[in-house]
Symmetry: C2
Subunit: 331 residues, 2 copies
């Protein structure tokens, strides 16, 4: 394996989050699936925004949050994702570059506009997302910068990319480049309903070795194998993928390979404010760890630490740099 | 005094905040006056944004924050301010209306675009603002909805309005309407450097009785009378204005009228995260109080409570509704 230019490249839907508090009743009245990513069209976006309380805006997008997290931890990160040439697109690009992430994707001459996700945070800190994909539908193989993929130790993408029409072609191209350069290729299952939409394709990505490292939370894993049993789902994924890392909220995470299975506890959280970005920051910590000389257990601890920090605040990325924090925590 | 339609109408520069963490060195290197509102032009805005770290966006503007605070406390609030017909202007208008504030100001067909303030929050929680006024420069007497002023128990404006060219004409018109309907007219001195720019005009507003109720913090008060002595400044304002409310950060506030002077302590703060909006939320609490049957001391306690809540979080407005909080606190 030759020298790397990046530790982690991530690919995903480039989204600006619009975040507001809401009561549980609001979700029921508006038909929003709680805790999930609800895909919406432009008309529904307008309707929900009109009903939404006062909000904050922050750059988001699952894989983009992970890239920003890797950079915040001190890693070398890159990102591919499609924004439009509009004010939200400028905000998104600013935040990526200001985080220290290489972001060279060409913005789309709008319309459609930059994607946005209206995120309703209920009093328990759970987030329910309503995503209008906008410009993300235009991501395709032409957005894959081959030399960035070739130079990244790990390329990681979000399962959400199976929603826009051509992103899967981009991912297959990136996988072939990555493997040709003996790099790791990784994905997150993203969301249990997303798994439900693309179960067979996700399993095929794992079983063909296109993906070497899978991130999932408990409900995504159960959705993947259509089982209520965590243990049987864990057994199943052991045979399907070289490494799986399964997060379980306050129960920590489980790392599964063909040779071993071990658990790592969660970090204590002072107050659950907003769970947005917890999985993304866990992945950031894990990917930073394995590309910076840590073993899987130490990497999972960094992931757990980063996840704990992001749920103590509003927004999907930790505002203060994570590197001094993990140094202080001895990670 | 006839029935009111609104408790509080506020008038100010309609601004979207762009908020990021920064070290103290950054302020020095970039020539940003710490703790102050620095007025900037479009070129400087671009330069600072390029140098700024990853940011959050939130609707701001001093008097707009106060209107949102009054509504959050359960009061009837209205606002006048100029945005452009652009995405940031839509965000600003959404947040005002979603807060329950009457906001009917006609947006400007851009350019110039909606105003933005880049706010750098240093590790001590102090905010240093860099404001590009954009569409705010177009606020004028034509934006004064006479029937809203006539129906508001108190009309309140920010001293910052002396920066754009025609807003002072709008304020003088609003004052004449308010007084004709025997309503109170109030202002905040906004910022010590703003006071320095418009000292004589602000004193004239007070001494002619155009303004009945003045809000100031300690440094603004000292700037107004060009003295280092808090006590002599307090003596001076007693003769210049019917009521002055002077905030002193962790030392609480002092209410001054011709008849009495008394202090109200600050509320404890669990952690100072970002002081943006503290003065605005204090004013919201005080104005809500005096227009909802509380005496000056009880009103100042509500103001102190609201200020304490906003500095515990990032952003200029409290994300959760304040009314249940003051009810629970017995205010």
């Amino acid at each position: 394996m030759s020298d790397t230019r990046f530790d982690v490249l991530t690919i995903g839907n480039a989204i600006v989050d619009i975040i507001a508090r809401a009561e549980d009743d609001f979700l029921v009245e508006r038909g929003i699936v709680r805790g999930a990513m609800n895909l919406i069209d432009a008309a529904r976006a307008e309707e929900l925004y009109a009903a939404m309380g006062p909000a904050l805006e922050a750059s988001g997008g699952s894989a983009a949050n992970t890239a920003a997290g890797v950079a915040s931890l001190g890693g070398r990160a890159a990102y591919f994702g499609k924004v439009a040439a509009d004010p939200l697109g400028e905000v998104f690009a600013h935040d990526m570059r200001a985080s220290g992430v290489h972001f060279g994707s060409k913005p789309l001459a709008a319309p459609p506009p930059t994607a946005r996700s209206m995120i309703f945070v209920t009093p328990d800190g759970e987030r329910s997302m309503n995503t209008y994909l906008g410009a993300c539908v235009e991501l395709g193989p032409e957005d894959i910068e081959a030399e960035v993929v070739a130079g990244a130790a790990v390329t990681y993408f979000e399962g959400y990319l199976w929603d826009p029409p051509r992103a899967k072609e981009a991912i297959r191209l990136a996988a072939s480049i990555a493997h040709r350069h003996r790099r790791q290729f990784s994905m997150t299952l993203s969301d249990p309903f997303c798994v439900d939409r693309y179960r067979d394709e996700f399993l095929e990505l794992m079983r063909t070795g296109t993906v070497d490292l899978v991130f999932a939370n408990e409900s995504e894993l159960k959705s993947l194998y259509q089982t209520a049993s965590f243990d049987s789902a864990l057994d199943a994924i052991r045979g399907d993928c070289a490494t799986a890392v399964v997060t379980r909220s306050e129960k920590g995470c489980v790392v599964v390979t063909s040779k071993e299975t071990f658990a790592v506890p969660a970090y204590p959280v002072s107050r659950i404010v907003d769970t947005t970005g917890a999985g993304d920051q866990f992945a950031a910590g894990y990917l930073y760890g394995i590309t910076n000389g840590r073993d899987a257990a130490a990497s999972a601890r960094i992931g757990a630490f980063a996840a704990a920090r992001v749920i103590e605040q509003v927004g999907p990325r930790v505002m203060e740099p994570l590197k001094p924090m993990i140094d202080a925590a001895g990670l």
